[in-house]
Symmetry: C2
Subunit: 335 residues, 2 copies
């Protein structure tokens, strides 16, 4: 099934079940007041939500028209958001930029940082930044939402904890990255609020697109309608979601509704922008600039500026959007 949260004036929104083709929805208000409530009581709620989802997909109930403009992030706020480093290609490309030191170590175990989870950005809301000279970048990522995970879980416990899958844009202010890391306490100001695509899907909904704790879908990114990337999230995975969950829980339990991010999806290639129709491209601009420096001697793709429109969605082999699209404009604070 696919779940989303509609704007209703409350911080957590109104939980809905969305049809597989993302055109229609049914309210889940009688089952759980919001997605966190459903996750908190998943063994009771999931079968009932699934039954409604089946009816909706079989057109036994017609539902209402789903308008992604009305969607909040599927979890509009969460109790935990941990972002990992699943794709080595991303780390290799941005390593010099980030000034991180230990390449070998990063191959052995995933890096992770704790992100702000108090207010995620809705899929069609503007990305508000205090200034656009902070090297505003997108990072296209896959995420999973977990149930409770005990400290030091087995791989099986980790795999079984995955409740929902989606995609996000881990908006990054590159100019503040070095500063954050030099402070020695890690990412903070460089990682403002994160955006999410309109729906989360259960593993079984994704059938063979979810396999071996990884998402076998292309994540397509365009900026102002120019294709910037369409890397395959199922390829070049160094750490899958079981690896990431196990690593995250080494000194702590993970509470219900914890969101774990894959890190920027990245495939190995040496494309540069503008991208050919079948090019692979980049899950973030920083990578595009690194490859440009190597191939043509200078970085030429600019970071995002006020008014730029960034669109990110995961596409199946028939070209259909699986989680719906983030389609957002960069906006300056106070404008």
């Amino acid at each position: 099934m696919k779940l989303a949260s509609l704007r209703n004036g409350r911080p957590d929104g109104h939980l809905i079940i969305v049809s597989r083709d993302l055109t229609r929805f049914a309210s889940a208000g009688r089952i759980a007041s919001n997605l966190q409530d459903a996750l908190d009581d998943w063994s009771r709620c999931a079968p009932i939500l699934k039954a409604v989802s089946d009816q909706l997909n079989n057109r036994e109930i017609s539902g209402m028209v789903f308008n992604p403009e009305e969607a909040l992030a599927p979890l509009p706020r969460a109790y935990q958001w941990i972002d990992g480093s699943g794709y080595m290609t991303h780390l290799e490309r941005v390593r010099s930029l980030k000034g991180s030191k230990d390449a070998e170590l990063q191959q052995e175990r995933p890096l992770m940082y704790q992100g702000g989870s108090d207010s995620f950005i809705a899929p069609r809301s503007p990305i508000v930044v205090p200034s656009d000279d902070l090297a505003v970048d997108y990072e296209a990522e896959v995420v999973v939402v977990t149930g409770h995970v005990p400290m030091r879980p087995t791989r099986e416990e980790a795999a079984n904890s995955i409740r929902l899958i989606g995609i996000c844009n881990d908006v990054s202010l590159r100019r503040l990255v070095v500063d954050d890391l030099q402070n020695g306490f890690g990412f903070f100001h460089a990682k403002p609020a994160t955006s999410f695509a309109p729906v989360f899907a259960t593993p079984e909904e994704l059938s063979d697109y979810w396999w071996n704790s990884r998402l076998n879908l292309k994540v397509r990114i365009s900026v102002n309608d120019n294709l910037y990337g369409q890397p395959d999230a199922g390829k070049d995975v160094r750490f899958d979601f079981v690896d990431l969950i196990v690593a995250a829980a080494q000194t702590r339990e993970l509470g219900i509704g914890t969101i774990i991010g894959s890190g920027t999806v990245a495939n190995a290639h040496d494309d540069i922008l503008p991208l050919k129709r079948d090019g692979i491209g980049f899950g973030c601009i920083a990578e595009a600039r690194t490859v440009e420096k190597i191939r043509i001697g200078k970085a030429r793709t600019p970071f995002l500026k006020e008014g730029d429109r960034i669109r990110i969605e995961a596409i199946d082999r028939n070209g259909r959007s699986v989680f719906g699209a983030m389609d957002q404009q960069i906006t300056l604070l106070g404008k």
Copy 2:
């Protein structure tokens, strides 16, 4: 007023109003189902909660006996937990340990890191660690809980956003700190779940103990009934809570119920342990060990081990506990 959350089998517990002397409580179940719900609707809930609090303190209602063993953390889970560095003495004492680089920078603006907020430890529950050879340490801190804070707030907006005040133990695994920082992404494994004292208090409840966005109370720490510290949280403050909130919101809004920590409370002095009755002592063991190295050539206070009991509470000028005590045993995972 003073608020707490009682264990009820649900992740957020049952909201209660606790009498000033911490002996009795009244249920707030008819006003809000839990503390986050009350914060989400604070302008409606706060006056009603305050009225019950007044009745309880005036003995117009007798209430029930408050047992801190039954208390969860006042916010058992939160959407955001940001820990700052309000006290320079702490940073100076642990700087070599943490390998952070820029002392001057740290005087200009507070360091901060994002902590895990998905499951806080109840005030009398054990502190479960995967192993006690990780240099388990306590960090006694003051916290505030905010309402919504816009990005780049004025100092007045920041001050007015403070809803509740409390204390916590930002449990730290020192042996993992260097590792986390070398990874370059910041604290993660070194900062497992945080403990909280049983109640949060509103600013007006604290009268002159809350002044100028700082808490003028001693925070008393003992390990196995030996006094380890009683630093004054109102002294040697480099960054007060308004500074910390303003700094935290430079590139993001802060959602309702964000918890901001002061960093380890630390006063300048050159006491060593065992502490004299009027000694000041230390908000964490790492500081005690640093001063020992300087004064007697070697660190002799051990980090916490399995079975150690750590007690932390804030004490007013009449010796009364203001938020109740954390009183917790270090326990190994699986035991």
